[in-house]
């Protein structure tokens, strides 16, 4: 069977776009990372989405959809007064709250979501007083939360403002001592987080055997992130991260 070469371009283009369309229809055409956290594998909360797997690339809209928390509630908790808070990415929080005594970032949102939904998660990050107020308004605030967050509630953040699409801290926010902030930044970069690879953790002072013993898995490639190791082995990243951080020298 002969094929006229005049049809080649057409055949290629048709098959290419037909293939992409079919993959899209089957849900296989994914051009960005999943914005849905993994589910908790074991225990009383098995099957629920894990707040510990919320990532900096998630938007408030993604979290709202997954955890059924209104975007307005999330925006109020973190004092985000953007025109469209549903598109606000969590990774922007760190620059928004730059200079606070204790980092307020993705970990803070994970903690808020965990409190709001009664799911397990413990963070060492700061927690804005606005989020505490939202929990109180919703009748979710407990003594246990107050105890867990002791010394980590950032109550200086009184107002945030937006300038067009850019969200910035208002001048009225009390800035902490610069040296203190620098120390915090240093501390943040010397602990295990979502981007830390096994090699990074070893550079921080852990040994491969400690990492393997803590996670209970054998590490084949030291460039793999601790988060991916946890995900691949159905381990709760937040718990493993805390366990490894405690063993840091």
């Amino acid at each position: 069977m002969k094929l006229k070469t005049v049809y080649i371009g057409l055949i290629f283009t048709l098959l290419l776009f037909l293939g992409i369309g079919s993959a899209d229809a089957l849900g296989l055409w994914k051009t960005e990372s999943s914005k849905v956290p993994v589910k908790i594998q074991q225990g009383d909360f098995a099957g629920a989405y894990d707040p510990g797997d919320i990532r900096g690339s998630f938007s408030l809209g993604d979290i709202s959809e997954t955890f059924d928390i209104p975007v307005e509630v999330l925006a109020k908790a973190f004092a985000i007064s953007s025109e469209d808070p549903s598109n606000f990415l969590l990774k922007e929080l760190e620059s928004l709250y730059e200079g606070t005594a204790i980092e307020i970032g993705t970990g803070s949102v994970r903690q808020f979501v965990a409190y709001y939904t009664s799911l397990p998660y413990e963070s060492d990050d700061g927690f804005p007083s606005t989020a505490v107020q939202v929990l109180k308004d919703e009748g979710l605030w407990t003594e246990q939360m107050a105890s867990q967050l002791d010394g980590r509630i950032i109550d200086q953040v009184s107002s945030l403002s937006t300038s067009e699409s850019v969200v910035t801290l208002d001048e009225t926010v009390v800035k902490v001592d610069q040296d203190e902030a620098t120390d915090e930044e240093h501390e943040a970069s010397t602990s295990i987080n979502g981007n830390t690879t096994v090699a990074d953790a070893i550079a921080l002072g852990l040994t491969l055997s400690i990492i393997e013993e803590t996670l209970g898995v054998e590490v084949d490639n030291q460039q793999i992130t601790i988060r991916d190791l946890c995900t691949n082995n159905s381990l709760a990243f937040s718990a493993m991260k805390d366990a490894l951080n405690k063993r840091l020298p």
Partner: protein, 271 residues
């Protein structure tokens, strides 16, 4: 007509991929062009699928920046290549197209000498360098779990020269490739392209093959002269050369002056 349609296809894909690259940048600033995809370049790069595949199979992790769509597009292109040859190289690849367009200047300057600067005794071995490029890239990517090829990728540099994501290595390689294109047709494709190495292998098993009917062939050599990859067609019955980019320039539809002598067919060759 076939040649014109191929040029239209090349221009179309060049513009489309360029628009997608620009639109991704625009989308990040909240102002995407309507109706044009906003996927990242890595998400639609079939070679990204090759780079990430082994790490995905071995460690069950996705290389950062690569997404599932890269595997899908790799699968589609391999399927098409097994059917009609690696037409992605000749009809769609923007890096291949721009080399061809720059090469037209070289052809005007050097006439018959163009594309024949490297002696065959060296050239035949240099053609295997792209397998070294492929093996090296996949090995390093699998072990580092990073897109190491990005550091020297001329394809990425071509469509991101304005962004801060472009690497100096990529720009240097791109400049070398474009300059070399003045002397050699598709130098990157011939000697270095790791993705060309992958799809080129489908020439051994493609369903529609290029076949020459020896009984009607007049040995004019026009098929050999038309081949951008310097493949000698005139001494073959079936073209299974790993370097063929399926441009079909050698066929009776294009260069060969005798009807039904060099054809694209799934059947047996005549003669």
């Amino acid at each position: 007509m076939s040649k014109k349609l191929r040029t239209i296809s090349q221009i179309g894909f060049f513009i489309l991929i360029g628009l997608i690259a620009v639109n991704h940048t625009l989308a990040e600033s909240g102002q995407p062009i309507p109706l044009i995809g906003t996927a990242s370049f890595h998400a639609i790069c079939p070679f990204g699928g090759v780079e990430a595949l082994f790490a995905f199979l071995r460690y069950d992790v996705m290389i950062p920046k690569i997404h599932e769509s890269a595997f899908v597009i790799l699968g589609i292109i391999l399927f098409i290549s097994i059917l009609i040859g690696p037409v992605v190289c000749s009809y769609a690849c923007p890096l291949g197209s721009i080399q061809e367009w720059v090469g037209k200047i070289g052809r005007k300057i050097f006439a018959k000498k163009y594309n024949h600067f490297i002696p065959y005794k060296y050239d035949r071995y240099l053609r295997y360098l792209r397998y070294v490029s492929l093996a090296f890239t996949v090995y390093l990517t699998t072990n580092s779990l990073k897109l190491v090829f990005l550091e020297v990728d001329p394809y990425y540099a071509l469509f991101h020269f304005w962004s801060d994501e472009v690497t100096l290595g990529g720009l240097i390689v791109l400049a070398i490739v474009l300059l070399s294109s003045l002397f050699i047709e598709r130098p990157w494709c011939k000697y270095a392209c790791p993705f060309g190495a992958v799809v080129g292998l489908t020439n051994f098993l493609r369903i529609f093959k290029l076949k020459r009917n020896a009984s009607t062939c007049i040995d004019c050599g026009l098929c050999d002269q038309s081949c951008p990859m310097n493949i000698k067609i005139s001494d073959k019955v079936t073209v299974t050369n790993h370097q063929c980019i399926a441009c079909n320039a050698c066929t009776s539809d294009q260069s060969c002056p005798i009807n039904d002598t060099v054809v694209l067919t799934a059947g047996k060759a005549k003669g």
